[in-house]
């Protein structure tokens, strides 16, 4: 049977705290860990199908125009070549997250340099690659490409729904005791998941099976089917292991559609993996931003006005634009508020969601501006932030569901030793190194999404959890098993979790930090039904049912659960749906970041010496995997602050540094032994688990703690991210 839970009102039952197994929250190892560390977990490209052919994508080498010929004459006769494909169904742009339908298609029309235009298929990877490099593509180029979002030629859009004008900001700014007016820029970035996008397509009659590295299978299936013009019922996608996503694998990408088309055509399975360069050019980038932040405050540092005006970019016709002001809407008070959201239309690689779209870059500027205000007024940066936490959402006038930002700031300050920070910037030295400490708030909007999961109690008294939800490193295998184990009183190793297969009940996918709360709530609901069914079977009341260690605990005896399963297995599908609490309460997860940096007075090099995060995100479902998520996010923050920058050539929009040698991810030695602490919190407005999203919280503001520390170390503020040594050398005395 199936049962639906709609989040229309707070759920104070707090079921998990009343179970006897005590799994949820515990720092348990990932159940799939042994497979991953022994190389046995299979990622998309690694499925071995008989008679499989290899496809290599071919990229456009002009920025805008029309492909007039493939120039494949010399290639077609080569041994082992099975075909060169280029088709109206090929994806021009990858799909945005939750698109649920085909993205912009058509390989002939070229909208950005690096766009995939063809697929060469051969018996071997080596031959396919050789042929792909040997095509003599011919074009009719257009001269009207726009490559610079700041150019006068760029078409600028200001969609009404994304603007905000409340009160009279100009008056507040003019009347303020203290003001900040600073412009910051952040560069384009790439998710750079370690597994390049890959798909293996195999047809059986009209039915397509695709093994692909994807984050959101229920949407991806519809996107793929719609792109191919076939019925979604005939498409199955499998992604039990995904080598990272961070947004880049939210929507179906060019390699999947190309592989499916070619496989159908040649009547053999086809494998296509993007090269690292193709991942940079033909999946998603995070947009660059230019952000002007103005703050107006009274003498005590209380904000009277806040304005956040920014420009981002994307290809023409793309609906997504980086929601830079997302946290600015709800984080700090101030009567008079203005948000201006501009989108420049450019011929650059498609812009889409990368980890914490909005907060990840918007909070760099906002949290730097808050520090600039604190310094100007001589108020401690933590105190300034605490003075500006509004009672209610400053724009929507609704209550916060839960918000432990002040506690996170205080707890972090205590643990980090904030009291040892000198009040004068540029005064602490350690040999050649200038030392500084910085702080930033963490905030990420909490979102949930419809989710289904099936839970079965087998005749052995074990449980199986099934959903097409993915685990992209996020810990889904771990936490869903913990929730089911708690609800059914089973040790962790008696719960099996099956994920990443569209034949299973549809989950919400991994994105927007909603996966664990949404899928976990569906599992909780299914288990609640199973408890009722079990109680019925035993002639008991479900509320009083105590299940622990595989036993049913009665007054003075224990019956093995297995014994109650003689009448056959029990099965339930739980469905979780977001409801009114998403509108009635401002929901977000919060925290605080602390960083200590050393800046070399000789070279301008920045080293992060220490970094600490305190977080409150409702119930923590697994303290070990949650900590890892936060460390991961904070490391993205280090990258954003110091090294990561996609460079676009302004003459043709191409990405100059399209590989991992030139796009600088933080490496092991760039990252200190980051400390993470969680504050105990329950949020009954968020979901029945009382949890909030955590996958993106660790990045949302992290980089600002580092740049604030740099300003404290040197007395000089870099507003052009990333804060590389050349910029620092230019401003340090």
């Amino acid at each position: 049977m199936s049962s639906e839970f709609v989040m229309d009102a707070p759920d104070p039952r707090n079921l998990l705290d009343h179970m006897a197994q005590d799994l949820t929250g515990a720092p348990l190892d990932r159940p799939e860990g042994p497979l991953k560390v022994s190389g046995r977990a299979t990622y998309a490209h690694e499925y071995r199908l008989g008679n499989c052919a290899y496809g290599v994508l071919v990229r456009a080498t002009i920025a805008k125009g029309t492909l007039t010929a493939l120039g494949d004459e010399a290639v077609r006769g080569l041994p082992g070549i099975l075909g060169v494909f280029s088709d109206d169904r090929f994806l021009r742009n990858p799909a945005q997250g939750t698109a649920d339908k085909a993205p912009v298609q058509g390989a002939q029309t070229i909208a950005y340099l690096g766009q995939p235009v063809a697929l060469v298929v051969a018996d071997s990877f080596e031959q396919a690659r050789h042929a792909a490099q040997s095509l003599a593509l011919r074009y009719a180029p257009d001269a009207d490409g726009v490559f610079d979002p700041e150019s006068d030629a760029a078409n600028i859009e200001r969609p009404d729904a994304k603007q905000r004008d409340q009160g009279d900001f100009d008056r507040a700014f003019a009347d303020a005791h203290a003001t900040v007016d600073s412009t910051y820029t952040t560069p384009a970035q790439n998710s750079a998941a370690m597994e390049p996008h890959a798909s293996v397509a195999a047809w059986d009659g009209d039915r397509l099976t695709l093994w692909g590295g994807y984050q959101m299978l229920k949407y991806n299936r519809n996107e793929l089917a719609d792109s191919l013009g076939i019925d979604a019922e005939n498409v199955r996608i499998l992604a039990p292991y995904v080598g990272g996503g961070f947004g880049s694998k939210l929507g179906i990408s060019p390699e999947a559609v190309a592989a499916a088309i070619a496989a159908r055509e040649i009547g053999r399975p086809v494998k296509v993996a993007m090269s690292r360069q193709q991942v940079f050019e033909a999946t998603m980038r995070r947009s660059e931003t230019r952000q002007r932040v103005r703050l107006a405050a009274d003498a005590q540092g209380r904000l009277t006005g806040i304005a956040h005006e920014y420009r981002v970019s994307n290809l023409p016709d793309e609906s997504f634009s980086e929601p830079v002001g997302q946290a600015t809407h709800f984080l700090y008070g101030g009567e008079n508020r203005r948000i201006v959201h501009e989108i420049a239309r450019v011929n650059r690689t498609c812009a889409g969601s990368m980890r914490a779209p909005g907060e990840a870059v918007g909070m760099l500027a906002l949290e730097n501006a808050m520090d600039e205000l604190a310094e100007q007024l001589g108020i401690d940066p933590i105190e300034l932030r605490k003075r500006n936490l509004p009672e209610r959402h400053p724009e929507q006038d609704i209550p916060y569901s839960s918000r432990m930002l002040a506690q996170c700031l205080d707890e972090g300050a205590r643990r980090f030793g904030w009291d040892k920070r000198s009040t004068k910037p540029g005064t602490t030295r350690d040999g050649e190194w200038l030392i500084g400490m910085g702080v930033s708030s963490a905030a990420r909007k909490n979102i949930t999404s419809q989710a289904e999961a099936r839970v079965t109690l087998t005749t052995d008294g074990d449980a199986v959890v099934e959903t097409d939800m993915t685990d992209i490193g996020t810990g889904t295998y771990a936490v869903l098993g913990q929730i089911a184990g708690d609800m059914l009183g089973l040790p962790r190793d008696r719960v099996r979790v099956m994920l990443g297969d569209t034949d299973l009940p549809p989950g919400p996918g991994s994105g927007g930090s909603w996966g664990a709360s949404s899928s976990g709530s569906a599992v909780l609901e299914a288990c609640a039904v199973l408890r009722r069914q079990l109680a019925d079977r035993l002639g008991l009341v479900a509320d009083g049912l105590v299940l622990r260690d595989g036993d049913i605990i009665l007054d003075n005896r224990r019956i093995p659960l297995r014994d109650a399963m003689g009448a056959g297995p029990l099965e339930a599908v739980g469905i979780f749906k977001p409801g009114k609490t998403s509108q009635d309460y401002a929901q977000a997860a919060y925290g605080a970041f602390f960083a200590e940096v050393g800046v070399s007075s000789i070279t301008g090099e920045v080293r992060v010496r220490r970094m600490l995060g305190t977080f409150a995100a409702g119930r923590i479902l697994n303290a070990k995997t949650a900590r890892s998520q936060c460390i991961g996010g904070m490391t993205f923050g280090i990258g954003a602050a110091l090294t990561e920058e996609l460079v676009h050539d302004l003459r043709d929009g191409h990405i100059v540094n399209h590989d991992l040698a030139e796009y600088h991810l933080p490496v092991n030695l760039d990252v200190p032994q980051i400390e993470v602490h969680f504050l105990e919190e329950r949020d009954d407005q968020a979901c029945p688990l009382q949890s909030k999203g955590i996958g993106e919280l660790g990045i949302s503001g992290a980089g600002a703690a580092i740049t604030n520390a740099i300003a404290h170390a040197t007395g000089a503020r870099i507003r052009t991210y990333p804060a590389t040594l050349d910029k620092l050398l230019a401003v340090m005395e």
Partner: protein, 156 residues
Amino acid sequence: MLDIDPRTSILDALRNHIGLTGTKKGCDHGQCGACTVLVNGRRINSCLTLAVMHDEDAITTIEGLGEPDHLSPLQAAFVRHDGFQCGYCTSGQICSATAMLDELQQGWPSHVSADLEAAPDPTDAEISERMSGNLCRCAAYPNIVDAIREVAGGGK
């Protein structure tokens, strides 16, 4: 005996021909370390060398270091310390760490060694420096250092 296209890297030979897919391809250009394997006990990026150049060599991949229910000490420490998330860089990290511990033992100095003559200690800085050729976008770095330190018997 493997009959192989001379253009085939060790990495592609393992993944596409031999069926050992534990070794991962993250960049194919020697920039990420996901493809790290041991050739005669030394760590190399298997994407950067051709299979035909290694006719007589002993190649150890992640599959050869342990199995899910018989993990090597490093593999088990990675699980305990959550030294991975998605797991895609993990084979390379563990192969790399396996050889790195040997290098330490043999007294090889690194960029962060204060004394080039003295036997290096497995400090956090030494471990981090020596593991910096293995990228992890999930950024399990602190946990990777914890796992390796535990196996190396080092102190912070």
